[in-house]
Amino acid sequence: MNKLLKRSIEFILFILLLSFISFVFVKLAPGDAVREILRSDDVAVSSSQMEKQREALGLNDPVLVQYGQWLGRLVRLDLGTSYMTNRPVTEELLDKLPATLLLTCTSLLVLIVIAIPLGTLSALYPNRVIDRFSRLLAVLGTSVPSFWLGLLLIEGFSVRTHLFPSMGTGSIAHLVLPSLTLGLTMAAVYVRLIRSSLLESLGQDFVRGARSRGIGGSSVLLRHAFRHALTPVVTMFGVSIGSLLGGTVVIEVLFAYPGMGKFIVDAIQSRDYPVIQGYMVLMGLIVTIIHMLVDLLNDVLNPEIRLKGER
């Protein structure tokens, strides 16, 4: 119970700090939301009319006052209204969250399907063909920009073979190319991580001990070595989920995928402060929950961590 209370307090403080820092930084950055609100690039507005609008929105108030007002609304679970769409920020974000979550899940699936078998085989057969292949994949995966990989996949699977749609949403097929682009790029890193982590585990005393007790090869691998090797992988997995949720902008643009990444970049460009702030809080919430789950999973995978923590 104490742990839960401590975590909750930590979480609230974290969100407060995150929201404050993001609020201040966004306000300090040059740019003006009013220019976007008044569509000043094709409407004959004057500087004084822009100033009037700025005043009406409270954008001339001190940053701390503006932050206090925003926080007051947050307490009432009101994230405000988007300047871009005139819709409640909560609705906007929740509309886009499922698509982003879906793409994150399918990309992680691609990652798992590739990285776990390849990384494991690479560790079991070091310096053999499979290991060399995985090294090549790792080099390619880390050096090829995901955007370019996406264009290659479109050329191969969409333009030439017509197997998958090159953009949009609506069916499972629409998810294949963006998921492959994201999953393949990330898998390269994980293959090497799993390989090195598993190799280290296989050389540990407890693995040698298990083998000397006559436990079978596959059992040693799965119940002992692999379980131990997964700890750094799971930790990194949490980081990857966070980056997938917030950083798939390029892929969203390329495949016209309606996720949150592109939406938030547009919001930043048009200085849509309520959306930016709402997004920061939502992402802070999701990433914190993911990290808590990762901690929990690490406890299960490696009881030694839990014991050390309890000492």
Binding site: A29, P30, G31, D32, R35, I37, L38, S40, D41, D42, V43, A44, V45, S46, S47, Q49, M50, Q53, M84, T85, N86, R87, E92, D95, V110, V113, I114, P117, L118, L151, I154, E155, F157, S158, V159, H162, L163, F164, P165, S166, M167, G168, T169, G170, S171, I172, A173, H174, V176, L180, E252, V253, L254, F255, A256, Y257, P258, K262, F263, D266
Partner: protein
């Protein structure tokens, strides 16, 4: 890897893609087209976004014709005696896509909503009060506002059924297509509205999709995911031209690329210095080499075709002409090099990267200036408009304003030349010009307006407040089976009831 490929093939086999629809045999009556646009919409509330008008869902009271004159649309005719009190006759037999008849009251409610939800529309329309009776709508503007009908061309002044639910996802307009679904940032799907007042559309359905990446847009066309692509990548022009199944269209847009002079800087207070740079810029190189020929040379801010364009004097350009102007501006020219009091000239040019041609143009100008002894440093700036307006530590800049989005010259003259105009980046404050623009804003008679605009444009040309470079073209590529596509100069009208496929 094999497992992934197997999964990929399995999913492919299990799923259907939109290609099935877009590549349908033309013989069937169920015609469909997929249009791919270069900006993504996050809402399709017509009072917030242009897409419903572009997709043929909504319409405005008046429209901008391809001859750049305003034409009746939902309004049959309009009249004013003083430029402040207006009477609009709304077309009869027009219905919204939910069957409700369009009358003056519905138009009034729609305009009231537009003003309420969009402060930009409030500014652009400047309406004081409205009253409706049958098909007659009376509008009084805050002050005499002769260009008011032109301003009603604005897509955000679209007429919407305000009683319909959820206008930001399923707006109900009077156009040939009604909304079936909308995915923010991805696509808008529409189907034919059979009772359309202008005659039912030839297409049964259409998808208005968004993709901001030019290469991806072209790939979508090649893969069959799109039939019409707006602004394909210019670097693939030859590929598109060589494909006999594609049709490429290039139309002069209502934008003008310009070189801005900061008239707050001592050097650019002098009009001869501005004329020197105007002569130095190589418009042909910008058009032909940097922009692949996809532009029209500019002689002034407005593209040819407007009724108020004066007969500009043909100017001599090039290094020699520029050097002559530098001399006239009080600079010493020795052995082809420009200096002042023995010191070389050093200037700062600011630009931005979202228009790919500007960084290249800046480098070309930098090289040209270097040849005559002028040092230009180039700086790329974010939040460009704010920077130009609020900072004074720059000498030259580039920009591409929309010159006459609704056909009238007042908009551009007000924003680009009045001292508090939001596009007056050159910080121009010319008392004579201000007086003329104020007069124009009050002038009702069209002939007199054109006469005054001509005078203003000649004055701007003489003073060379900006160097007008080129009017960039709008490029559209579509499959040969697409019929009756019109690349609208205004970029407002895209899906129409005449659009068809074979």
């Amino acid at each position: 890897m094999i497992l992934v490929l197997c999964t990929v093939l399995f999913v492919s086999a299990c799923s259907s893609t939109p290609k099935d629809a877009t590549t349908q045999p033309a013989a069937t009556k169920d015609k469909e087209v997929t249009f791919l646009f270069n900006f993504a919409s996050q809402t399709i509330d017509p009072h917030q976004d242009y897409t419903p008008l572009r997709a043929g869902v909504t319409e405005t009271l008046v429209k901008l014709g391809e001859d750049l004159q305003i034409e009746p649309w939902l309004a049959e005719k309009w009249d004013t005696t003083d430029g402040q009190h207006w009477t609009f006759e709304i077309k009869k037999n027009v219905t919204f896509q939910d069957g409700r008849a369009l009358d003056a009251e519905a138009v009034k409610q729609s305009l009231e909503r537009a003003i309420k939800v969009n402060p930009g529309v409030e500014q652009v329309l400047n309406i004081k009060e409205m009253s409706a009776s049958g098909q007659t709508l009376n509008i009084t503007t805050e002050q005499p506002f002769p260009q008011f009908p032109s301003e009603l061309v604005h897509p955000n002044a679209s007429i919407l059924d305000v009683n319909a639910a959820d206008p930001d996802k399923t707006p109900v307009g009077t156009g040939p297509f009604k909304v079936t679904s909308f995915t923010a940032g991805s696509s808008l799907k529409v189907e034919r509205y059979d009772e359309y007042w202008g005659g039912a559309a030839k297409l049964s359905r259409a998808s208005f999709n968004f993709n901001e990446d030019a290469s991806a847009r072209l790939s979508a066309l090649m893969s069959g995911d799109a039939d019409i692509v707006y602004r394909p990548p210019t670097e693939s022009l030859e590929t598109m031209k060589s494909d006999s199944t594609l049709h490429l269209e290039s139309v002069t847009s209502l934008r003008t690329h310009e070189l801005i002079f900061n008239t707050n800087q001592p050097e650019f207070k002098d009009k001869y210095m501005r004329k020197a740079f105007d002569a130095l810029v190589n418009r042909e190189e910008l058009k032909d080499v940097i922009m692949g020929g996809q532009a029209t040379l500019a002689t002034g801010p407005f593209m040819p075709g407007f009724s108020f364009i004066p007969s500009y004097e043909v100017k001599t350009t090039g290094t020699e002409a520029a050097l002559a102007w530098f001399e006239k501006a009080g600079y010493q020219v020795e052995q082809g090099k420009v200096s002042k009091n023995g010191k070389p000239l050093s200037l700062k040019l600011v630009t931005y990267t979202s228009r790919a041609e500007f960084p290249l143009f800046a480098q070309v100008l930098q090289a040209q200036a270097k040849e005559i002894g002028i040092q230009i440093t180039i700086e790329f700036v974010d939040n460009y408009e704010d920077y130009l307006l609020t900072k004074d530590d720059w000498d030259l800049g580039t920009y591409s304003p929309l010159i006459a989005p609704r056909g009238d010259a007042s908009y551009f003259l007000n924003v680009a030349f009045k001292p508090d105009g939001t596009l007056n980046f050159g910080k121009i404050n010319d008392l004579q010009l201000n007086k003329w623009i104020d007069q124009l804003d009050q002038m009702v008679d069209t002939d007199k307006r054109n006469e005054l605009i001509e005078k203003i444009l000649m004055h701007i040309d003489e003073e060379t407040y900006y160097s007008y470079l080129v009017h960039p073209n709008t490029l559209v590529v579509y499959k040969d089976r697409v019929k009756n596509w019109v690349t609208s100069k205004s970029e407002y009208y895209m899906l129409t009831n005449q659009l068809d496929v074979e």
